[in-house]
C-alpha cells in the first residue's frame, strides 16, 4: 500500500463535476463514494485520499464510512463480479451449494478474485428477486432458479 500523502489517482471529468456539485451539500460523502466506486469498481487508497483532499475532510473519516458499509470495496474486484444470493429464500433453496460449486469451479474463495482478474465471487443478502430463488447476479445480469451444475456453463459465457 502506498504511503505517500499525495495521490496520483485521476478522476474523470464527470466524477470531478459530480463532486463539485455535491461538495457543499450536507451528507454528501456516501453519495460521492458511490460515484467513485461506480467509476473504478472499488475505492482505492489513492481515490479515498483524493476525495479527502477535494472535500477537505480527514482520510480517517472516509475510511470510517467505507469500512462501516458492506457495499464499499477496498480491493479491486474481477472484471465480472459474481454475486450469489444468500438471502433467506435463496439459502433455503440451495444458495450455499451454488456458492460452493462456483468457488470450486473458479478455484477461489468467497471474496476472492481469479488470477486472470476475470471473476470475483461474493455472497450477498437478497437481491430482491426471491420469487426466482436461488439467484445469481453477474455484472447486471440476473440468473434465476439456478442449479449448481449450471454455473460452469453460465460462467463460460463471461469468459471472453
Amino acid at each position: 500500500m502506498p504511503t505517500e500523502q499525495k495521490t496520483d489517482t485521476v478522476f474523470s471529468k464527470e466524477l470531478e463535476n459530480f463532486i463539485a456539485e455535491w461538495k457543499e451539500k450536507p451528507g454528501n460523502l456516501i453519495m460521492i463514494l458511490h460515484k467513485v466506486q461506480s467509476e473504478f469498481g472499488y475505492i482505492s487508497r489513492g481515490a479515498a485520499m483524493k476525495v479527502a483532499e477535494m472535500l477537505d475532510i480527514p482520510l480517517a473519516k472516509i475510511y470510517g464510512v467505507i469500512t462501516f458499509y458492506h457495499f464499499f470495496k477496498l480491493n479491486k474486484p474481477g472484471k465480472n463480479v459474481i454475486q450469489v444470493c444468500m438471502g433467506t429464500a435463496c439459502y433455503l433453496k440451495g444458495g450455499q451449494a451454488i456458492l460452493d460449486e462456483t468457488a470450486k469451479h473458479l478455484n477461489i474463495p468467497v471474496k476472492g478474485v481469479t488470477e486472470d482478474g476475470m471473476f470475483s465471487l461474493e455472497s450477498v443478502r437478497c437481491v430482491g428477486c426471491c420469487g426466482l430463488a436461488p439467484v445469481v447476479v453477474i455484472g447486471d445480469e440476473v440468473f434465476g432458479k439456478v442449479l449448481p451444475e449450471q454455473m460452469p456453463e453460465i460462467l463460460a459465457n463471461f469468459s471472453e
Binding site: 451528507g27 462501516f68 458499509y69 438471502g87 429464500a89 437478497c126 426466482l132 447486471d140 440468473f143 434465476g144
Partner: protein, 594 residues
C-alpha cells in the same frame, strides 16, 4: 387516445432477468409488422406478483394472461390473440389439477388478493406519469392542497387507522401529528426504502411498478406537517427502482407536481434520493438518518424520536415505502373506506413476499386478517413437491416462526406479536420438512452477527454467543444448559440492547425454541437432525443395492469410499465430509442419508 388492445409486459426485476426486454421488443416489432401500431399499445409495466411463473404478458381488454413467455412467442400472441381474438392455450396458466386458466380471475393465486398498494403494478407503465395520472394519480395531492387543511388530512389518516408497514405498526397519523405540532423552520419527510430483510422485496416492486404513488404521498405529508424537502433512502442494490424513481421525479417536476409552488399553490416540495450502502442496521430509523447525514449508520437512543428531532436535528416524518403507497388512496377514497378493509386494529391490506418451499412464490397483497392457511394453500398453492408444511417465518431476522397449529390465525400486527413473531416488513418464508429449524435460526443469527453495528455490548456479544451455541447444537455438541443459556441471553438482549436490531435479534431463536423444543432436544440428546440439514449429524451409508459400479468412489472428493469392482462399497465415516456427491451420483439408490 384510446387503443383497441393493450399488451402489458412485466418489467419487474424478476421478469427482466428472464428476457422480458426481448419479449417487449419483439411484441412491438410484430405489432408493427402486422400494421397494428395504431390499434395496439405495448406497455412495459411493474411486477404482476406472480414472479415464479414469469415472464408474464397480459392482453387487454381480453384479459388474456400468459405465463413463462419467451421472446419467440411474440409472433403467436400477435397473430392469435390480437388478430384472431383467440387465446394461446399453450401459454396460459395450468394449475395442479390440470385446469387451464386464461384470465387472472380464474387463477387461485389472484382470487383472494386485494390490490391497494399494488393497485398500479402490472397495469401502468411506471416510466410514464400520464398513465399514473390517468388512474387518479396526483388527485389526492390536488385534493389536499386545495380542499383540505393539514388538520383535516391528519383526521382522515386517523380515521383510516393506517399503521406503519415497515415493522412496528405505529399509527401513521400520530407520527405526522407529532411533527406537525413541533415549531420549526425546517422539517423533513423521509421514505425508508432500505428493505433490509433478506428474502423480502415488496418495496422494491412497489417502487419499480408505481414510483409516483410514493412521491405523491410524501408531498401530501410535506403539506400536512409543513415540510418542504423529502429524501428517499434506497438500497444501492436496487438499480432499476432507483432509475424509475429518478424518471418519475423528473416528470413530476416537469408537470409542476414537485418543486416550487406545486400546482400553482403556495406549497413547495422537492425530493432527493440518497443511496444506502448495504448495512441492515440502516433500516432502523435513527441509523438511517445518520446515514443520510453521511455518517456511519449507528442508531441513537430514543427518545428523542425522529418525529421531534430527526434529520439534522429537525423534526422528521419517516415512513416505509408501503405505508406511503397507501396514503394517496386513503385521501381519494376516504379513511372510512380504508378502515372497512382488514381487521379492527389492523386496517387495510398487507403485501407479503411469499417465498421458500411454496408452489406459487411471488408478491401477494391480502386484506389484514387473512389466515396463513389461505395465503399458503389458496394463494400459494401449497408446498412444493408434495412435502409436508413445517412453518412460516415472518418478520425476517427480527421475527419468528408460525407453525401448522396456528395456520388458521388471522394475520395482523397484534396476532403475530402474540405468537412471538412480528409483521416485520412482510417477508413470509415457507419451510417444509426438509428444513431444519436450528439451521434456520443459525442462519438468521449469523446475519445478525454480521449486521450488528457493535455500538452496544448486549447485541455485539449476545448475537455472537447465540450463534456459537446454535453452531454447537447443530454439531451435536449441545447440552441442556445451552438451551437455558439461549433463553437467558435472548431475554437479556431484548431488555438491554440499544436499538431494534439487538432487541429483536433473539426472536428467531426464542420462537423456534418455544415451538420446536423437541427438535432442539433431538439434536442434543439423540444427535439427530430429522431434516438432514445439519451436516455434522448426518451419515451416508451404502446398502445392499450397491452393484459395485465404482462411480461414487471416483466422485468422492476426499477418496473415502472403497471396494472392489462389482462388490459392495463402504464409506470411511471418519473421513467423509458429508458432501452428498456419492448419493447424487449413484444410479442404483444404494446410498442412504440418515
Amino acid at each position: 387516445m384510446a387503443y383497441k388492445h393493450y399488451v402489458l409486459v412485466c418489467g419487474g426485476t424478476g421478469c427482466e432477468s428472464s428476457k422480458a426486454d426481448d419479449i417487449f421488443t419483439n411484441l412491438k416489432t410484430e405489432v408493427a409488422n402486422a400494421g397494428l401500431e395504431h390499434d395496439v399499445q405495448v406497455v412495459k409495466t411493474g411486477c404482476f406478483g406472480f414472479c415464479e411463473k414469469g415472464p408474464i404478458v397480459k392482453v387487454l381488454p381480453e384479459d388474456a394472461f400468459y405465463v413463462e413467455v419467451k421472446p419467440s412467442d411474440a409472433e403467436e400472441i400477435v397473430k392469435e390473440t390480437l388478430i384472431k381474438g383467440r387465446i394461446v392455450k399453450r401459454l396460459a396458466y395450468v394449475d395442479e389439477s390440470g385446469k387451464t386458466s386464461a384470465v387472472p380471475e380464474e387463477i387461485g393465486f389472484y382470487q383472494k388478493q386485494m390490490r391497494i398498494v399494488l393497485r398500479n403494478c402490472g397495469l401502468i407503465d411506471p416510466e410514464k406519469i400520464d398513465e399514473y395520472i390517468a388512474r387518479d394519480g396526483y388527485a389526492a395531492l390536488e385534493k389536499v392542497l386545495f380542499e383540505m387543511t393539514p388538520d383535516q388530512v391528519i383526521e382522515e389518516m386517523k380515521i383510516s387507522g393506517l399503521r406503519g408497514r415497515g415493522g412496528a405498526g405505529f399509527p401513521t397519523w400520530m407520527k405526522w401529528n407529532f411533527t406537525k405540532q413541533v415549531e420549526s423552520d425546517v422539517k423533513y419527510i423521509v421514505c425508508n426504502a432500505d428493505e433490509g430483510d433478506p428474502g423480502a422485496y415488496m418495496d422494491r416492486s412497489t417502487l419499480e411498478g408505481d414510483p409516483h404513488s410514493v412521491l405523491e404521498a410524501m408531498a401530501i405529508a410535506g403539506y400536512t406537517v409543513g415540510a418542504n424537502q423529502g429524501f428517499i433512502y434506497i438500497r444501492a442494490e436496487y438499480p432499476l427502482a432507483i432509475k424509475r424513481l429518478e424518471i418519475a421525479m423528473a416528470q413530476a417536476r416537469e408537470y409542476g407536481l414537485l418543486g416550487q409552488n406545486i400546482l400553482g399553490s403556495d406549497f413547495s416540495f422537492d425530493i432527493e434520493i440518497r443511496l444506502g450502502a448495504g448495512a441492515f442496521v440502516c433500516g432502523e430509523e435513527t441509523a438511517l438518518l445518520a446515514s443520510i447525514e453521511g455518517k456511519r449508520g449507528m442508531p441513537t437512543p430514543k427518545p428523542p424520536f425522529p418525529a421531534v428531532c430527526g434529520l439534522w436535528k429537525k423534526p422528521t416524518v419517516i415512513n416505509n415505502v408501503e405505508t406511503w403507497a397507501n396514503v394517496p388512496v386513503i385521501i381519494t377514497k376516504g379513511g372510512k373506506w380504508f378502515a372497512s378493509i382488514g381487521t379492527e386494529k389492523s386496517s387495510g391490506t398487507k403485501v407479503f413476499a411469499l417465498t421458500g418451499k411454496i408452489k406459487n412464490s411471488g408478491l401477494v397483497e391480502v386484506p389484514m386478517g387473512t389466515t396463513l392457511r389461505e395465503i399458503v394453500y389458496d394463494i400459494g398453492g401449497g408446498i412444493k413437491g408434495g412435502k409436508a408444511f413445517k412453518a412460516v417465518q415472518t418478520g425476517g431476522p427480527s421475527g419468528g416462526v408460525i407453525t401448522a397449529k396456528m395456520i388458521d390465525t388471522p394475520i395482523d400486527f397484534d396476532n403475530l406479536v402474540a405468537a412471538g413473531s412480528m409483521m416485520g416488513s412482510g417477508g413470509m418464508i415457507v419451510m417444509d420438512e426438509d428444513d431444519c429449524i436450528i439451521d434456520v435460526a443459525k442462519f438468521y443469527q449469523e446475519f445478525c452477527v454480521e449486521e450488528s453495528c457493535g455500538k452496544c455490548s448486549p447485541c455485539r456479544i449476545g448475537t455472537r454467543k447465540l450463534y456459537d451455541i446454535l453452531t454447537k447444537i447443530s454439531e451435536g455438541k449441545g447440552t441442556m444448559e445451552d438451551l437455558e443459556q439461549l433463553k437467558e441471553i435472548g431475554e437479556a438482549m431484548k431488555r438491554a440492547a440499544l436499538c431494534g436490531l439487538g432487541q429483536t435479534a433473539p426472536n428467531p431463536v426464542l420462537s423456534s425454541l418455544h415451538y420446536f423444543y423437541d427438535e432442539y432436544l433431538e439434536h442434543i440428546n439423540e444427535k439427530k437432525c430429522r431434516a438432514g440439514k445439519c451436516k455434522k449429524l448426518i451419515t451416508y451409508t451404502i446398502n445392499d443395492n450397491c452393484r459395485g459400479c465404482t462411480l461414487c468412489a471416483r466422485k468422492c472428493p476426499v477418496n473415502c469410499i472403497s471396494g472392489e469392482v462389482r462388490q459392495k462399497h463402504t464409506i470411511d465415516q471418519t473421513k467423509c465430509i458429508k458432501c452428498g456427491e456419492c448419493m447424487k451420483n449413484c444410479k442404483f439408490d444404494a446410498i442412504e442419508k440418515r
